[in-house]
């Protein structure tokens, strides 16, 4: 299983907002463990979906040169669960950005209705305040995550 918690990036307004969708399917393994009698997509993975959407939004600002990592879940509130067949939409706005970090606020919708709010902070790893050094290679915006989600969008192939 790949660590993809969004299915498609559908909007990217550079430096402002990004929107992605996630379709919840009964074919996904994690639903059978969470839980057998009541399969639902856990809020923790909705937070990850918002983080992946926000990570792309933040990363785009530096043309995907910075290593962007989730650093803080400032707020995560949910009022409903997501069940097989539901479509989740993650709408993320960029509130602030500095050389070291960025802050985003996000809304989670289920089939169009708001069911959650997720506010996050991202760190630019190479500029982190602790001075920790990371490998030169950008291991965040690389590989299949970037190829499957970001590149098709940038080529205009993911609007269908």
């Amino acid at each position: 299983m790949r660590w993809f918690w969004i299915d498609r990036l559908v909007e990217l307004e550079p430096g402002k907002r990004a929107v992605a969708i996630k379709n919840v399917s009964l074919a996904e393994e994690h639903l059978h463990d969470h839980w057998e009698q009541f399969p639902n997509h856990p809020p923790s993975l909705m937070i990850e979906g918002v983080a992946q959407t926000g990570g792309i939004l933040v990363g785009q600002v530096s043309d995907f040169k910075e290593k962007v990592a989730l650093a803080k879940i400032t707020k995560a509130e949910f009022s409903d669960v997501a069940l097989p067949g539901d479509q989740l939409t993650y709408e993320v706005a960029l509130d602030s950005i500095a050389p070291e970090a960025a802050a985003t606020s996000g809304i989670v919708r289920k089939n169009g209705d708001v069911i959650g709010q997720v506010d996050l902070m991202f760190s630019h790893l190479d500029q982190n305040m602790a001075g920790t050094e990371f490998p030169e290679e950008n291991f965040i915006f690389t590989g299949s995550f970037f190829q499957r989600l970001v590149e098709p969008f940038l080529r205009g192939e993911s609007n269908g």
Binding site: A71, K72, S96, E100, A101, A103, M121, M129, A130
Partner: protein
């Protein structure tokens, strides 16, 4: 009408409650950000972002929470700030109260300079 220090404190309190997930009564002027309120490094940036929005001010990097002090050997020796280091920090943090810290400028105690009141003093100079 200019904001009073009380107005500033109330908004700083709201900012910290939101940024750090606290209860209102935990945020007192003398509370230290890391020791009492549990702030970590990423929280300092969160606080800076929120203060900028709340008060509509710009906070240049390192102005509210100075950086590049501890990694300078001229400023730190044997785990304490040197006279030069202390002077430098005081110059860069006119908004902090050094009366306790300067008696024993142990770098492990530097976090005690970052109190709620330190932020209030800083913001007051910005909105005045």
């Amino acid at each position: 009408m200019p904001m009073t220090e009380t107005d500033v404190f109330e908004k700083v309190r709201e900012t910290l409650v939101d940024a750090l997930g606290l209860d209102d009564d935990e945020v007192t002027p003398e509370a230290t950000l890391t020791g009492d309120l549990g702030a970590e490094s990423i929280d300092f940036l969160d606080i800076v972002f929120r203060l900028e929005k709340t008060f509509d001010i710009k906070i240049p990097r390192g102005e509210l929470f100075p950086d590049n002090i501890l990694n300078n050997p001229e400023f730190v020796q044997d785990g304490k700030l040197t006279d030069t280091g202390l002077a430098q920090l005081k110059e860069r943090m006119p908004h902090a109260d050094f009366s306790d810290f300067e008696k024993d400028p142990d770098i492990n105690k530097m976090a005690e300079l970052f109190k709620v009141q330190t932020i209030v003093n800083y913001v007051v100079t910005k909105v005045a």
